[in-house]
């Protein structure tokens, strides 16, 4: 583990053509990290995420994505992802490969990656159409009961990015609230980068809170507000208006390009701290 700026951590870990997971289940979405990758220009990416929302809409709209592996591609609480739709329906700005799963499959596949297994098996996809269109959904017969179970390959991203509440000065990371799939996504990856709201002397963690030891992560970067417009449990609320506005911005190719230029390309990760003004929770 090394403390780095986000710019250094992205330059150090991400290459053209690599596979990246930016995980976060509505909560703790690593927006700042995703924007840094967009700014540094890496392309031909395989993006993995259970719930690709507006950050993947942005990557796809910029034409940086070769393939997307996912289980629910929507704007939570709002509707569809308009840049993803434009790529899937009109191949604009270019076609994307899609490997589509269910949540259960993705969760099991990350867990298999973390557990060092080649594949995951579970009871799933019964009667489901995805089995017909995704060649990575296969089946195995239980050697003890004969039950036909679904099997999917383990997910092992080249790099996983997550956002968390805090790290201590050794780089141990604390996550609390809706912890989603982040622990599995970190432990499944070849390298993991964690952005945090703050760095503290003592994590003061309850023994069962999710702590990732410093030696499981490649880099820790302090980026206050780095989840915005997603939220950080106990620290700031979700910017629901931003999700609603995204629906309008992403509906138009030019409006999208203009917005990305102003708010991503000509911005920096330091700008996130001011984006959460007015959304902060009082310290408890």
């Amino acid at each position: 583990m090394a403390f780095m700026t986000l710019r250094e951590a992205v330059a150090d870990t991400v290459r053209d053509g690599c596979s990246i997971a930016f995980e976060g289940f509505t909560h703790l979405i690593p927006h700042a990290a995703a924007h840094e990758v967009m700014r540094q220009g890496m392309s031909d990416l395989t993006l993995i995420r259970m719930t690709p929302d507006i950050v993947y809409d942005q990557f796809v709209g910029l034409g940086r994505v070769k393939k997307m592996i996912f289980s629910y591609a929507g704007n939570p609480g709002v509707g569809l992802l308009r840049r993803v739709r434009d790529a899937a329906e009109n191949s604009w700005p270019k076609p994307i490969e899609i490997e589509e799963h269910s949540h259960a499959a993705m969760a099991n596949a990350y867990e298999a990656g973390a557990a060092g297994l080649p594949c995951a098996m579970f009871r799933g996809y019964l009667g489901a159409g995805l089995k017909e269109v995704n060649p990575n959904i296969k089946s195995v017969i239980c050697p003890f009961t004969g039950e036909d179970l679904a099997a999917v390959p383990a997910l092992k991203p080249d790099v996983t990015f997550i956002h968390a509440q805090r790290a201590d000065r050794a780089g141990n990371v604390l996550l609390e609230g809706i912890v989603g799939i982040q622990k599995e996504a970190v432990l499944a990856a070849r390298k993991a980068v964690v952005t945090v709201e703050e760095i503290v002397d003592d994590l003061s963690a309850h023994p069962n809170m999710t702590v990732l030891p410093h030696w499981t992560v490649h880099a820790v970067c302090k980026v206050p507000g780095g989840a915005h417009p997603s939220y950080v449990h106990g620290m700031y609320d979700r910017d629901n208006a931003a999700y609603l506005e995204w629906d309008k911005i992403a509906a138009d190719r030019q409006a999208f390009a203009d917005w990305m230029e102003e708010h991503v390309m000509r911005a920096s990760s330091d700008d996130f701290a001011k984006r959460i003004k007015g959304l902060e929770r009082a310290a408890s």
Binding site: Y72, V84, S102, Y125, G127, V179, A241
Partner: protein, 267 residues
């Protein structure tokens, strides 16, 4: 109480199907409103579970997404997503999976994946999320969805979540041991599958709804039960609870959104 909307009737009729003993896996949108009205009226001890990992949640306002902070803050416990799908859903602990739908057919098969062909879709929808396994691992499935010719179709374009397939014993033939869709509540009627064919059959019509209106909003020839009754209209208490919940939700989401103009400029 005489004045209510079809939407309110749908939510309230759906809420009545739940009980105190249920462990309900809640889909976002219409199911979420119905489940919380049940909790706030006749079933205060119902366990509501959202796929983000929140177990036994009791939100004061309806969440915008399945991962809102409100769900975690009011939950008995919050578990990781793999634990949610493996131990709690696949483990068989969910009595009711409550799902919405973009498109469904008369056997309760749901499509939320694509309109048109999968490889070159006319409309790319979000996909299944948790629904394919909610549909097969929950002990039974309730569904709620507004009726329209666009949504209620002869054949779904894609089997996102398997209901009763082609009907009859299709679930058993695929090795599925759970009951599947047993109830469909819409803005016009309450439907239940026929015991033999598993085709959804109308059991009650909401007050004022005619068979002609039904025909105009459904893309197949509707079957009616021998005895079709009128759905009990919403009680004063049910309507008050639902309207207060919606008002609290609107106020809370406006508050947390601050001013829209600022966040647009800052992004």
């Amino acid at each position: 109480m005489s004045d209510f909307t079809p939407d309110e009737m749908m939510t309230i009729a759906a809420s009545r199907a739940l009980t105190n003993d249920d462990v309900c896996f809640v889909g976002i949108g219409a199911p979420s409103a119905a489940c919380n009205v049940a909790r706030l009226t006749h079933s205060p001890d119902i366990t509501l579970i959202y796929e983000s990992g929140t177990i036994g949640t009791a939100p004061d306002v309806l969440p915008l997404s399945i991962g809102d902070g409100e769900l975690c803050e009011t939950a008995l416990t919050t578990v990781s997503v793999p634990e949610m799908f493996r131990y709690w859903l696949q483990g068989g602990r969910i009595t009711i999976g409550f799902l919405g739908a973009a498109q469904l057919d008369r056997f309760g098969n749901i499509n939320t994946t694509v309109i048109g062909d999968y490889a070159s879709p006319k409309t790319r929808l979000p996909g299944g999320g948790g629904a394919p396994e909610i549909a097969s691992s929950s002990q039974q499935v309730y569904m709620t969805c507004k009726q329209s010719r666009r949504a209620f179709v002869q054949t779904v374009d894609f089997y996102t979540s398997f209901g009763h397939g082609d009907g009859g014993d299709h679930r058993q033939r695929l090795g599925i041991t759970t009951k599947g869709p047993t109830l469909l509540i819409t803005d016009m009627a309450v439907w239940q599958p026929d015991e033999e064919t598993k085709e959804f059959t109308v059991h009650s019509l909401h007050p004022g709804v005619t068979r002609e209106q039904m025909r105009d909003s459904v893309g197949w020839d509707i079957r009616y039960a021998d005895e079709v009754v009128e759905t009990e209209p919403p009680s004063a208490e049910e309507l008050t609870v639902l309207r207060e919940l919606k008002a609290r939700t609107k106020a809370a989401h406006e508050r947390s959104s601050r001013s829209g103009s600022r966040s647009q400029s800052d992004g």
